[in-house]
C-alpha cells in the first residue's frame, strides 16, 4: 500500500538521510539535519559517527535536543570536548559529510548567513558563519537544506559567508579549499545537485505534485536539469514510524501538517 499521508518536511528528512552513508563521519546541526541523521543511523547507516561543532561526539540523547549546546546531548555521548577540537577534525580530513542551512544560496552553492544589504550598516544583520564556513571549506561533501523561495535562491549572494563552488569551475581549487564542495541541496520542492562541468545547480528530483516550472519560479537563477528528473522517493511506513514515534514524537522539528 503506498504511503500518501506525509508532510514535505518528512519527505525532506528522508531525502537528506539518504546522503548519509554507513561508516562515515558527519558533522551535523540541529533541526532537519539532526532528524535526518538520526533516521539514517536507525536505518541504513548504523555505524555513522555524528558530531556537533559544540564538541559533542556521538550523542545518544534520551530526548530530542533543541540546540547543539543542549545538555541533552552532553548527558549521553561518547566524548564531550571543546569546539576547537571538534572543528579541527574537519581540517584533519576526518569528516566525510557536513549539513548546512542557508539564508541565501546562489547557483554555485555559495551561502550567505551574515548580512542582508551592505556589510557596514546592513539592512539586516543575521548570525554569521559559525562553523558553516569551516564545514564547507573542509568536509569532503556538503549537503544544504533550505526553504525554496526566490529570495533565498538569488542570482548572487549579498555576501559570501560560506563557499560553494565560488565563481565556478576551479574556484575552490584556486582558493586552496580542501573539501569537494556541495553535492546536494534539499528543499521543500526538489532535490538538486551540481553539474560536473559548470558547477551550476541542477534539478535531480521533484517532490510529488511539484513541477519543474514550480521550482524555476521559486528560484532567482536559471536552473539546469538532470538528464532524467525523477520523483523524490516517498517515505516508507517504517521511516514515518521512526520519525513520528521515536525521533521527533513531539513534532519539534517536523510539524505534523
Amino acid at each position: 500500500m503506498p504511503v500518501t499521508d506525509f508532510t514535505r518536511e518528512e519527505l525532506m528528512a528522508v531525502a537528506a538521510s539518504k546522503e548519509i552513508h554507513d561508516g562515515e563521519v558527519a558533522i551535523i546541526g540541529t533541526g532537519l539535519p539532526m532528524i535526518a541523521s538520526y533516521l539514517a543511523k536507525r536505518t541504513h547507516a548504523p555505524t555513522v559517527s555524528l558530531f556537533f561543532e559544540s564538541g559533542i561526539i556521538d550523542a545518544f540523547p534520551r530526548e530530542l535536543a533543541t540546540g547543539v549546546g543542549d545538555f541533552r546531548l552532553m548527558s549521553n555521548c561518547i566524548k564531550a570536548a571543546g569546539l576547537y577540537y571538534a572543528l579541527s577534525l574537519l581540517q584533519g580530513g576526518r569528516v566525510d559529510l557536513g549539513f548546512l542551512g542557508a539564508a541565501e544560496i546562489d547557483g554555485y552553492g555559495n551561502i550567505n548567513s551574515t548580512v542582508i544589504g551592505d556589510y557596514i550598516k546592513p539592512k539586516v544583520r543575521v548570525p554569521g558563519s559559525g562553523g558553516a564556513n569551516d564545514i564547507a571549506s573542509l568536509a569532503k561533501r556538503v549537503v544544504i537544506i533550505a526553504a525554496h523561495t526566490k529570495r533565498r535562491f538569488p542570482e548572487k549572494c549579498q555576501y559570501i559567508t560560506t563557499p560553494g563552488y565560488l565563481d565556478g569551475p576551479g574556484g575552490r581549487e584556486r582558493a586552496g579549499l580542501r573539501g569537494n564542495g556541495p553535492v546536494r541541496v534539499v528543499t521543500n520542492l526538489a532535490v538538486m545537485g551540481f553539474d560536473d562541468q559548470t558547477k551550476r545547480m541542477k534539478v535531480e528530483s521533484l517532490h510529488p505534485g511539484v513541477t519543474l516550472d514550480d521550482v524555476q519560479e521559486n528560484t532567482g537563477f536559471e536552473l539546469l536539469t538532470a538528464d532524467v528528473v525523477g520523483e523524490t522517493p516517498i517515505p516508507t511506513v517504517e521511516q514515518l514510524r521512526l520519525l513520528r514515534e521515536e525521533i521527533d514524537p513531539d513534532g519539534i522539528y517536523i510539524s505534523r501538517g
Partner: protein, 303 residues
C-alpha cells in the same frame, strides 16, 4: 609546601570586575546557553565600563548584554544567535544602526587567532575562510589575514594573527581557592580563551578543596597558575545553564529575548535585573528560589 589560604585568589565580583579598565579587549566564555558568565557581565554593566572590545566566537549572551547596555565599541565574531529563539537582537540592531563595528570570522578562524596566542606563536596557518567575503571584506582588523605558503610543501594557507585579549571572563563548574578550575561537559573554547588572554577572571558554581580537584584531575581545564581571580557565584550562568548543576532557563531567556527586540523594553529589563539589584544575590532573589530549584539538574541526567 602546600599553598595556604594566604595564596587564595578568591575575591568578590565587584572587585574582580573593577580591575578591568575601560577600553579593554575582553573575551567571555559560553556556548549557546551554557557556561555563560552572566553574573560577571551584569557586574560590568553595573560598573558602567566603556568602549570595550569583544573578541568572540559565538558568545551571544556577553555580546548582546554588552551591546544592549552600550558598553561595546567593537566585536570580532563568528556567529551570534540565541539558539532556539532567533537572532541576537540588541547586537543586530546596533550593527544595523552603525553603533558598533564588527569583524567577521569563522568559528575556526577566530579561535585559531586565540590558539596562536595560547601557543606563543605570532600566527596560525588555517585552511578556512578562503575565497569568501569573510576575507574579502575587512572592517577594523587591518591584520585580519595574510595568504602564506608552507615552507616545506608550498601548500597555500590563510594565516591569521595571534590575538591576546586583555581579560578572559570565564564561568566554570568548580575550582579551588587557587583557581584550579574544572568544567563538566563540553568546554566550548574556554581553554583557548584563557590561555590566550593576559588575565583570567574566573567565576565558579562552587569552591571545593584542592584535594577534590586532585581526585578528578581529568576534569581540570585550567590549572590555577593561569587564573588571576576567583569568584564564587552560584547560579552564575543564569539564565544560561551549567551541565550537572542546572538547566538553562527557557522562560527567562524568552523574557530576555522578547525584551531585547526594542531599546525601550530592553532598558526596562536592565533596570529590573541589572541596575535594580545591588549584586548577584539581589538578582537571584528576583528569579526566586522556586524557579532556581526547578532548574536544578537531575543527578542522573546532568540537566
Amino acid at each position: 609546601m602546600q599553598p595556604s589560604s594566604q595564596h587564595s585568589k578568591v575575591t568578590s565580583a565587584r572587585e574582580a570586575v573593577a580591575s578591568i579598565p575601560d577600553g579593554s579587549n575582553l573575551t567571555c566564555g559560553g556556548f549557546a546557553h551554557s557556561l555563560t558568565p552572566i553574573a560577571l557581565v551584569h557586574e560590568l554593566i553595573r560598573q558602567g565600563k566603556k568602549d570595550l572590545d569583544l573578541t568572540s566566537m559565538g558568545e551571544c549572551w556577553a555580546a548582546d548584554l554588552l551591546t544592549g547596555a552600550g558598553l561595546l565599541r567593537r566585536a570580532r565574531l563568528s556567529n551570534y544567535m540565541f539558539e532556539g529563539f532567533g537572532r541576537c537582537m540588541n547586537f543586530s540592531r546596533a550593527v544595523q544602526e552603525g553603533r558598533i563595528e564588527v569583524e567577521d570570522y569563522s568559528h575556526f578562524g577566530i579561535t585559531s587567532r586565540l590558539q596562536a596566542a595560547a601557543m606563543g606563536v605570532s600566527y596560525m596557518p588555517t585552511k578556512v575562510m578562503a575565497g569568501t567575503d569573510i576575507l574579502n571584506i575587512k572592517s577594523f582588523d587591518d591584520d585580519k589575514y595574510k595568504m602564506t605558503e608552507c615552507p616545506f610543501t608550498a601548500e597555500p594557507y590563510v594565516a591569521v594573527r595571534a590575538i591576546q585579549p586583555d581579560v578572559a571572563m570565564i564561568h566554570a563548574s568548580r575550582a579551588d581557592t587557587f583557581g584550579n578550575a574544572q568544567v563538566f561537559g563540553a568546554t566550548s573554547i574556554i581553554e583557548e580563551q584563557a590561555r590566550a588572554a593576559k588575565r583570567v577572571i574566573l567565576s565558579v558554581e562552587e569552591i571545593v578543596p584542592s584535594s577534590e580537584i586532585a581526585r578528578r584531575p581529568e576534569l581540570t581545564l585550567l590549572p590555577g597558575f593561569m587564573v588571576d581571580m576567583v569568584v564564587k557565584i552560584p547560579f552564575g550562568a543564569h539564565p544560561g545553564g551549567m551541565f550537572r548543576y542546572y538547566n538553562y532557563d527557557d522562560e527567562h531567556i524568552g523574557q530576555y529575548w522578547t525584551a531585547s527586540k526594542q531599546a525601550d523594553t530592553f532598558e526596562q529589563y536592565l533596570a529590573e535585573f541589572v541596575y535594580g539589584v545591588e549584586d548577584r544575590w539581589g538578582y537571584l532573589d528576583k528569579i526566586g528560589a522556586r524557579r532556581l530549584m526547578q532548574l536544578r539538574a537531575d543527578p542522573g541526567l546532568g540537566y
